[in-house]
């Protein structure tokens, strides 16, 4: 039987789908019986989802203009 502490070290392997069948079964049995570990996994999934929602910086308009000009000046690709 897995302990809660062991489970916290195996979470990423589990979420990455990299566990053997037997390990996965043990892991899921523990989760079925342990609401604390269910809360832990849920926090972990929320953390990952939250990272995916962090705001991204936009391209500075000056740089965008400059690169688009550069792109416009490029000739057609060389024929091989």
């Amino acid at each position: 039987m897995l302990t809660c502490q062991q489970l916290t070290e195996l979470v990423t392997e589990y979420l990455e789908g990299r566990m053997s069948f037997w390990r996965r079964t043990q892991f899921q049995m523990h989760l079925g019986m342990c609401k604390h570990c269910r809360a832990y996994i849920r926090q972990m999934k929320t953390t990952v989802a939250t990272l995916g929602q962090l705001p991204q910086e936009p391209v500075p308009p000056d740089l965008k203009d400059e690169l688009l000009k550069r792109f416009a000046r490029m000739g057609p690709p060389e024929q091989k």
Binding site: T3, C4, Q6, T12, A49, L51, Q56
Partner: protein, 229 residues
């Protein structure tokens, strides 16, 4: 790399500790490349919008200052334009663009005297770091101080204030560089594990260990933040 990829073709799947061969460009990558080669400026403008922020984030892992990171991203875009007509689709477009960045950023990091020891990955993997502090478990390994359900457990609610965003950004910046690089590419930019291995030239196992350490720390930080509120 291409030779290596060839020798792996038809061979059994590489074991977890071997270098990961590139996945080829997808159909949508190839369609986008075709538009760029036809000099479709909307296609290039979309590419800039999509990747500029992510490139800046990754550059900041390797170089000491924002000013240098911005330069590295600019150089990367120039590199993308220079290489566009030679891109052969042996890797995904994302992998190719991020790799141009990491190459420039690493060179720059060396020049600026900040060498992120990516070559010495094993020293910094945090093999022996615990995901959760041992004090929270009973001697039998069961929870002593268990995690609680977060009331507002959607990303939108967690990131509602500028302060919360800043808090999380600080925690990411405080990670060891290799953990930060992996979690940035995987969870913030949404690359799959294969692409992350290709961009950073690390093995699957290494990727997973680094991701595990990074996510565990960031969860702990968010937990603290949520409970303090």
């Amino acid at each position: 790399m291409s030779d290596r990829a060839k020798t792996l073709e038809g061979a059994p799947a590489p074991s977890a500790d071997e270098a990961v061969p590139d996945a080829p460009a997808s159909a949508s990558d190839l369609a986008l490349i075709a538009r760029l080669r036809a000099r479709d400026s909307k296609a290039f403008s979309d590419l800039l919008d999509r990747y500029h922020g992510p490139l800046l984030r990754l550059a900041l892992v390797f170089v000491p200052s924002r000013a240098v990171a911005e330069e590295v991203v600019q150089e990367t875009w120039v590199g993308v334009l220079d290489g566009l007509d030679r891109f052969e689709g042996r890797s995904t477009l994302k992998t190719w663009i991020f790799r141009i960045l990491t190459n420039r950023a690493k060179t720059r990091g060396v020049r600026e005297n900040r060498t992120v020891p990516f070559s010495a990955f094993s020293d910094q993997d945090g093999e022996h770091e615990a995901a959760v502090e041992a004090a929270r478990f009973k001697p039998n390994g069961m929870w002593g101080v268990p995690p609680r359900r977060w009331e507002d457990d959607t990303p939108e609610k967690l990131l509602m204030t500028a302060q919360a965003v800043q808090h999380l950004e600080h925690a990411i910046a405080a990670l060891p560089p290799n953990q930060r690089a992996v979690v940035t590419l995987r969870d913030i930019e949404g690359l799959d594990s294969h692409e992350v291995c290709n961009v950073l030239e690390i093995t699957e196992t290494n990727q997973r260990v680094l991701l595990h350490r990074a996510r565990s720390k960031l969860r702990a930080m968010l937990e603290e933040y949520v409970e303090r509120k």
